[in-house]
């Protein structure tokens, strides 16, 4: 079920990128897409009524079924990377706006862009 939700989010993100002309909206839709993928990563490691995978001295590791810790580690990095790209994109969008006065990519195509 979560996987369907994440797939849907991915498609919404893609749709967003395809249809908007405004750069800010594009970056937002990429965020949605990345969100979808992150949720999917989490869902890969999920086991119904599993236990959080932190070893403490009084829990016997062989008995309880731990949720798979690896995707959770991966998702952390992926979120950080998503953050990095979004901030970079917004910075460039602001500079573009300052230079060309618009957020609309198609408008810039025709201007003095030799």
């Amino acid at each position: 079920m979560i996987r369907l939700a994440s797939l849907l989010l991915l498609l919404i993100g893609l749709y967003g990128v395809l249809t908007t002309k405004n750069v800010i909206k594009m970056i937002i839709s990429i965020n949605i897409m990345e969100l979808g993928v992150n949720i999917f990563i989490i869902s890969v490691g999920f086991i119904t009524n599993g236990v959080a995978p932190n070893l403490t001295e009084h829990i016997d590791s062989s008995l309880s079924n731990f949720v798979d810790p690896l995707p959770q580690a991966l998702v952390l990095t992926s979120i950080v990377i998503g953050l990095g790209i979004t901030s970079l994109g917004l910075a460039f969008a602001r500079k573009m706006n300052k230079k060309y006065g618009t957020y609309d990519l198609t408008m810039i195509g025709g201007m003095k862009d030799e």
């Binding site: 594009m26 990519l105 195509g109």
Partner: protein, 607 residues
């Protein structure tokens, strides 16, 4: 005296020439003369070490008589036209590079003729291509060297495909051995035959590929045109020779249906040769620029050589090989004389010249002897080779190819006479009043080449003996020579006797002429103009559109160059379509393509 030492000395000398010409161009040009002379002597010494194998790093060589024959022709042409280099140093933008490329292309040709395996052959072939491309660019037009490179690239790429195909099938790269693996598959043999021959056809300038020849020869630097049309065209003949001897086309296609005893694929190539004779002749008659005219005559004579070599029998093959030599010398001489006229007057346009004989009589006589041989008129070498080719064609009964050959030889009277009368004879324009005769340096190559033409014409035995050696090496019946007469199935030719009788006739006419009263010298302008008072020599000189009636008959023939331009425009359209489709400023387009690719591949994978 191994072949490798010859190559290395030539390479060393060309580097020295480059360094010298960096310091002083003229001196460098003289060095090119010395280097080509040294090569000529060294090659001549290789005469008795035929059959010797040699190899160095990537390249392997084998000294064959046919290789020796071709490279001797090439070096003679290079040596004689090198004499013009010093006078063109000032006219070129990169003289030092010109000297270097001049000699490197010579190395390229020699290496190619002695190559033993495909890779050596291809490497030396391409060296000649790119060096001559950079030389032609120093001439009048960049477009012509661009077209030259593209047509040669088409030829050499297709031949590379054939070579690699044969390498894959036979497992060895050696030319003489590799083709034997094709005897089994007739279809493969057909593909390899046509693809392998393509580079040769594009170099000789056979019909569909002759497009570059008038452009490149017409606009190359005047001192390189003799080499281009006298020498480099012969490389294509070598490829034709390989395709007939090493490839043994006659055995490979013995099963396919034959026309008049000639296997169909070979006949098709010969028809192409015949078409290029007719096209070359018709176009040559129409030209106004002397160099373009001579270039088209090289197309026509290239057709003769190809037909001769492809017939690969006793007569026509010997005719083809001899025509190779006589055309090389005749067209080199013609180009040299036109270059000298251009050097003195600055133009090769026939309508702007006239009456050069009064100022340059020596150049005139040399040009006269050259065109007598080029047109195939008896006492000269051109006649002997055309005679052999025609006899060979008569033996096989190839009517249509013979008709084209006749058209070519009669048509050659017309187009060789046009420069003679438009450039040298007729009225001398006042602006050419102070034109001087060619300097001594320029006269040396003219004398050498004229003597060579005469020798080949009157005593063809010298050359035919070597050709007989080639025929023996290639395993076909040799040409038979009794004393100085060529004995052939349906006729006999003794050019020395023809020469003597011509001398005898000339003597009788001279005696009659001298006995009669002395005639009064009159200026050129004092002519019968049927009551028309003309005082400006230029107007009284008949040189522009010389064969107007014939040109009206062959109105604008379809320029084959359009074909190449249509293809290049088509490529540009596809390129533009690809660029606008895929790379556009909006990211949405690319993402759209990502989804499309994903969808197609997904469906492809699932089905």
């Amino acid at each position: 005296m191994t072949f490798i030492t010859v190559l290395i000395t030539l390479l060393a000398l060309s580097v020295v020439t480059y360094l010298v010409s960096l310091i002083n161009n003229k001196l460098g040009a003289y060095f090119t003369i010395v280097t080509s002379l040294v090569t000529l002597l060294l090659l001549f010494l290789l005469k008795n070490s035929i059959g010797q194998l040699a190899s160095i790093s990537l390249f392997t060589f084998k000294l064959t008589t046919v290789g020796w024959y071709f490279s001797m022709v090439m070096v003679v042409v290079y040596f004689t036209s090198a004499f013009l280099n010093p006078f063109w140093m000032k006219k070129m933008i990169y003289p030092a590079a010109y000297n270097l490329f001049y000699l490197v292309s010579l190395i390229g040709t020699i290496g190619m003729f002695f190559a033993r395996d495909f890779i050596t052959l291809f490497i030396f072939w391409e060296t000649v291509v790119w060096t001559s491309t950079f030389i032609i660019q120093m001439g009048k037009s960049r477009k012509s060297s661009y077209v030259y490179y593209v047509v040669s690239a088409i030829g050499s790429m297709v031949t590379l495909f054939a070579m690699m195909l044969v390498y894959q099938v036979s497992g060895t790269l050696e030319i003489s051995v590799a083709f034997n693996a094709l005897t089994g598959q007739p279809v493969l043999a057909l593909i390899v035959f046509f693809t392998f021959l393509l580079a040769g056809l594009s170099k000789i300038g056979i019909f569909p590929f002759h497009v570059w020849l008038p452009m490149a020869h017409g606009s190359a630097p005047h001192t390189f045109s003799p080499v281009l049309s006298g020498g480099l065209v012969k490389m294509g003949a070598f490829i034709a020779y390989i395709s007939v001897s090493a490839f043994a086309a006659y055995e490979a296609f013995s099963s396919s249906f034959t026309i008049m005893g000639i296997p169909a694929p070979i006949y098709i190539i010969m028809v192409l040769g015949a078409i290029s004779i007719v096209v070359g002749t018709v176009m040559a008659i129409r030209q106004d620029d002397a160099k373009k005219l001579l270039a088209y005559s090289s197309v026509a004579n290239g057709g003769y050589i190809l037909i001769g070599i492809l017939l690969f029998d006793q007569l026509a093959f010997a005719g083809g090989m001899l025509h190779l030599v006589s055309h090389a010398i005749a067209s080199a001489t013609a180009f040299i004389t036109i270059a000298i006229v251009a050097h003195r007057t600055g133009t090769t346009k026939m309508s702007k010249l006239g009456g050069m004989i009064h100022k340059m009589p020596i150049t005139y006589t040399v040009y006269l002897i050259a065109i007598i041989s080029m047109a195939g008129i008896p006492p000269m070498g051109g006649f002997v080779s055309k005679w052999l080719i025609l006899q060979g064609l008569a033996d096989h009964g190839l009517l249509f190819i013979a008709a084209a050959a006749f058209f070519g030889s009669i048509g050659s009277f017309m187009y060789v006479f046009r420069p003679l009368s438009a450039v040298f004879l007729g009225q001398l324009a006042p602006k050419h009043e102070n034109v001087k005769e060619a300097s001594i340096m320029m006269q040396i190559p003219m004398y050498l080449l004229t003597i060579a033409t005469l020798l080949i014409g009157v005593f063809p035995k010298i050359i035919l003996k070597v050709i007989a050696g080639i025929q023996a090496e290639a395993g076909i019946q040799e040409i038979v020579m009794v004393g100085n007469t060529i004995v052939v199935a349906n006729g006999v030719l003794d050019t020395f006797r023809v020469f003597v009788v011509f001398g005898y006739g000339f003597l009788i006419a001279l005696v009659i002429f001298i006995l009669r009263r002395k005639s009064r010298r009159v200026t050129l302008m004092d002519t019968y103009t049927s009551a028309e008072f003309v005082h400006t020599p230029e107007l009284l000189h008949y040189s522009s559109n010389f064969y107007a009636p014939f040109e009206r008959l062959t109105k604008k023939p379809y320029p084959v160059l359009n074909l190449y331009e249509k293809v290049s425009i088509k490529i540009k359209e596809i390129g533009h379509m690809a660029e606008s489709l895929f790379s556009s400023p909006k990211p949405a387009v690319t993402i759209f393509w990502i989804i499309i690719v994903f969808a197609i591949f997904f469906l492809g994978g699932v089905l």
